[in-house]
Amino acid sequence: MKAIVMVMLKPGVLDPQGKAIGHALQTLGFAGVGEVRAGKVIELELSESDPARARASAEEMARKLLANTVIEGFHVEIAS
């Protein structure tokens, strides 16, 4: 079972990387792009077969290592 952990900076935490991407998009002529924020996607191959337990496990991994909850939030999706 695969867990996909998405880690994003919390709202209010400055994201200079997202800003730079936004500037580059404007330079390329993409109009109408508002704020851009960049994050991380981490795919985990888990031996667990129960989706609820897989989610709980991935969320614990996110809290303990994958995200720094001082500055980042996370979201877990389970794909079978």
């Binding site: 400055l14 200079p16 303990k64 290592l65 001082v70 500055i71």
Partner: protein, 230 residues
Amino acid sequence: MKAGVVVFPGTNRERDIAIALQAASGRRPRMVWHGETELAGLDLVVLPGGFSHGDYLRCGAMAARSPVMGAIRDFAAAGGHVLGVCNGFQILAEAGLLPGALLRNASLRFLSQDCHLRVERADTAFTRHYQPGQVFRAPMAHGDGNYFADPATLDRMEGEGLVALRYASPEGAVVPEANPNGSARSIAGILSPNGRVMGLMPHPEDLVDPLMGGTDGLPLFAGMAEALAA
């Protein structure tokens, strides 16, 4: 002063810190590998700069979860002195031994340059050889030194006097132009509530001998050697 210098895979400033510690105390520090858990007999533990575990995931994230950090947590809880420089500061923040986090520099650039630091607290083992308000020069070299904490945490830290050093002009003015990396409230170095754990981004160990171009950083090491003399 018996000092230990912690080495993670990717640490690269341990010898510079060791030279500064030995110059100030006359004693050669012990190198402590990241898998070790025995810190008995040490008066000071230093986490030096570098790129531990390649800075993968987040700077200091992997190192903060290595075996030696459990021992350092116990050492700090028992009142031991811990200093984290650059990547060492990032590791202490990741480990929760100091509040806040170090984000990517606001300019997105890796900055290798001199900066000036204003001493906000001169009553700690780390800063006792400086005067309150004194400004000293320190080289810095980092890509992720932009100090962040939420406003409530920053207010609490200011109220408790946990800001040790701020980026300033050579004359001591804390102004945006003298803040190289976008750090909240120009914070360059912070303390734990008991004043015995300090983290800072710049490198005082780079200026401890006239041959290096100055001795601005020597008082930090001399102060620790005096305060922690066995």
